[in-house]
Subunit: 479 residues, 2 copies
């Protein structure tokens, strides 16, 4: 029977993200059959449908596309909050914990599961997870039911990096090749699996971290497999310094030379890209991903999203990693992106709520190469849908006219904890604010147990950092 | 029996805020008897106590002082989100809604109740509520059980303000006197009521909004009653322009001339104060209140909290009003204050988590004149306590050593929805994440009903704004 649905949302405020704005339908209805959206319209138009499960949104709940986190290192989830408020986050903070963590694969996996669950509960349905060992981490996405576009990190840096600050990195081609092989294996095993929910990209860690030869091999492998490349680009002055020392040119001109600048590329961070470089990159059709929360906390820098908006419609946001950003929550990213840009440019109108909502939904889907599948509420798209409870006191009241307050409140007031229901690929993953597929308490307890183990293992490396302010902060009772 | 307590928290991570840092006790205990904290120590030291209610925090929950919102206009809660992303928030956005709202006292009261409830659920226990009609709004604080230091706004602006932008405001002394009388009545009726939970201050709206004569009368009335003055100071270029036109001097020198700069003053915003003026004000012992979220959204300006830190230990944060900031949540204010300052000064270490936590607790208490009563977990202080659930996936895992991650995660990852329990004056107001004293759903439904009425009434005034971008945004489907 054609008008029999699996799930029908009725009397919802539907933020479709169709068209050029947000495409709101008041008193709207959305129908799901199997993995796809099969009806979008008014509640009245839906009167001919019946459904296995009928959800009455009572005109006080918002139905919208699931949010897209275009850049997350979920494997770092376990060491959240261990390296904050430092001028040298990497050297003075995260390094001992990262070392201890990465020698404990079980801890990486358990932290990743908790991290993905955190994001899912806050409405993230699609993850571009950029980490290692991705062949194991990907199983967390399978278990939780999330949509994932995963990448195994490829670099040629040796296991023990002994390069002093300012010196050119040494490369270890054997290490680089092993990682490249793992990336290809990941692709062969997982690309298109789980009804297409899992897809794989290729992931050179940064133009400074592997040789030109390996970069070319990766490009060719990605071309051959018709998939994308997920890569940090112009992510810091350290990277630019390496590129100039090694090749006599900055990252983006170099990437042009090696043929990387095209629609296949998803370029992350771009904090050190000049305006001209950004324009050039965008002009080649590359997707751009900004991590506002993470870069603001770690570096005190505002990625100039407002400037990027002018040059591209393939813009996305990423939450990066928990020990930098502390949280992996796309509501947080939307809010910070809009507000930091208002302050950077001293202009409260430069980054309105609707634009940043597009960057977390429809434009993100395009930026990561899934624009046909997800990012909006449209017939034929995958049913990646969230329901947000606008009866919670931080989102109420709803006003429709003469000014509708729903999208501003979604961006500037929602915290993520108002996400009542999440569907991915038509399957209910969060129901009544609770995760369906795993025992939330157990996931957290398992991660906690592993974290104590990792913290113990980090003591030695931490004691060998000569001059971290964290030691003084601990002694002074500031932590 | 002396060792019989009403409530005893055991096995908690206690963030006492004693001393100069955050004063953490691992495996700590906090005892409450009547309205006060009567025990603080280790769980072991608490073994001799019995309690009516024993709460086992299982080493995964944080007990800390309730947060202090030093500047909120709760009466604006009903029109949340109606005026975002504008260069002229007041003239192009909020004005029609404010007009409609302020003609509907019932709507003001209902919006305020929801607004205070929103903040309470996110761990705010003390409110400096600056609004009108405060004689009615104060009853919301009585009903919910919150600690409130309330102020009736006093200005001499006429009811219908017809001054063009740039012209000197006209004053209506009769209007000013009526408000001053209301403020005195509020004081006489409410100061010290509810076992001292309700106290009253005097509230000149801004140095530009009332005459020198009335300012002097207010100062004398506050002196006589030994209470504080809550006042917007140097809040915008419009204010400075008025001051120069009327008196030939900027706000802070003017306030010095009229004898306002002393410990009695709680100066809010200071966004237009020069560094020298700020130093001068701080040197006189005035408390300073910054509203980071609100000012960033409305003006794209970062109040330079890091600069203020250097000159005063009487600093507090405020959430301001819902139609500017969208949310009234001190976790949001802590996070934005720290991160916006990192970006303003391009320095990730300039504003560490522990400093901003002090600004929302112990320093805030001092800034608002309640330093002896609240703001820390110490024997003898009022039991204004919150319990935060660190088993939620955005706050886990807990790491104690070699680097403790609790305070960074509290500031950079907590959203407020992790607040499981709230006590004010020893009374449990939130229990198991739920409000005890009112029916949450009904509070929201009542506010929603009033909001539809106010929105209807705003249609006329909205239609008469000639050039608001909100109209175009509505037409373009961006709202």
């Amino acid at each position: 029977m054609e008008n029999k649905l699996d799930i029908l949302f009725l009397h919802a405020i539907v933020i479709t993200m169709r068209g050029n704005g947000v495409g709101i339908i008041e008193d709207g209805a959305v129908g799901v059959k199997g993995t796809r959206i099969t009806f979008v319209g008014s509640s009245e138009e839906a009167s001919g449908y019946v459904a296995e499960r009928l959800i009455d949104a009572a005109n006080h709940k918002v139905i919208m596309p699931g949010l897209i986190d275009a850049h997350i290192h979920s494997g770092d989830g376990l060491i959240r909050g261990t390296a904050q408020d430092l001028n040298h986050w990497m050297q003075h903070g995260i390094w001992p914990f990262e070392q201890a963590l990465r020698q404990d694969e079980d801890a990486v996996i358990k932290g990743s599961l908790m991290n993905i669950m955190e994001a899912l509960k806050a409405g993230t349905t699609t993850f571009c997870d950029f980490d290692t060992p991705m062949t194991k981490i990907v199983e967390n996405h399978v278990k939780l039911g999330t949509r994932a576009r995963v990448t195994e990190l490829i670099s040629e840096l040796p296991k023990e990096n002994k390069t002093a600050i300012g010196e050119l990195y040494e490369f270890d081609p054997a290490e680089g090749n092993a990682k490249f092989e793992r990336c290809k294996k990941l692709f062969d095993r997982w690309h298109g699996q789980e009804n297409g929910r899992i897809t794989c990209m290729f992931g050179p860690q940064g133009a400074d971290m592997l040789s030109k030869e390996l970069l070319l091999e990766i490009k060719s492998a990605a071309d051959h497999r018709k998939t994308g490349i997920h890569m940090h680009v112009s992510q810091g002055d350290r990277e630019i310094d390496q590129m100039i020392k090694r090749y006599g040119m900055r990252t983006i001109p170099f990437l042009e030379e090696v043929g990387y600048l095209d629609e296949q590329l998803m370029a992350v961070h771009l904090t050190e890209a000049t305006e001209e470089e950004t324009r050039f990159l965008a002009g080649r059709g590359a997707g751009m991903v900004l991590c506002s929360g993470s870069i603001a906390i770690i570096d005190g820098i505002v990625p100039p999203a407002a400037a990027f908006l002018e040059v591209s419609g393939r813009l996305a946001l990423g939450s990066d990693q928990a020990p930098g950003n502390n949280c992996n929550n796309m509501f947080n990213e939307m809010k910070f992106t809009a507000i930091l840009n208002k302050c950077k440019f001293g202009n409260p109108s430069i980054f309105p709520a609707w634009k940043v909502l597009r960057m977390a939904t429809i434009e993100a889907a395009r930026a990561i190469g899934l624009g046909e599948e997800t990012g909006s509420i449209e017939v034929g798209k995958k049913a990646d849908i969230i329901m947000v409870d606008f009866t919670q006191p931080c989102l109420a009241p709803i006003i429709h006219y003469p000014v509708r307050n729903i999208v501003p409140n979604l961006v500037y007031s929602a915290k993520g904890s108002e996400v009542e229901m999440v569907l991915v690929d038509g399957k209910v993953l969060i129901d009544g604010f609770k995760v369906v597929s795993v025992d939330e308490g157990k996931v957290v307890r398992d991660a906690q147990e592993a974290a104590f183990r990792v913290a113990k293992a980090a003591e030695g490396p931490f004691s060998r950092i000569p001059d971290t302010p964290l030691r003084e902060m601990m002694e002074n009772g500031e932590l």
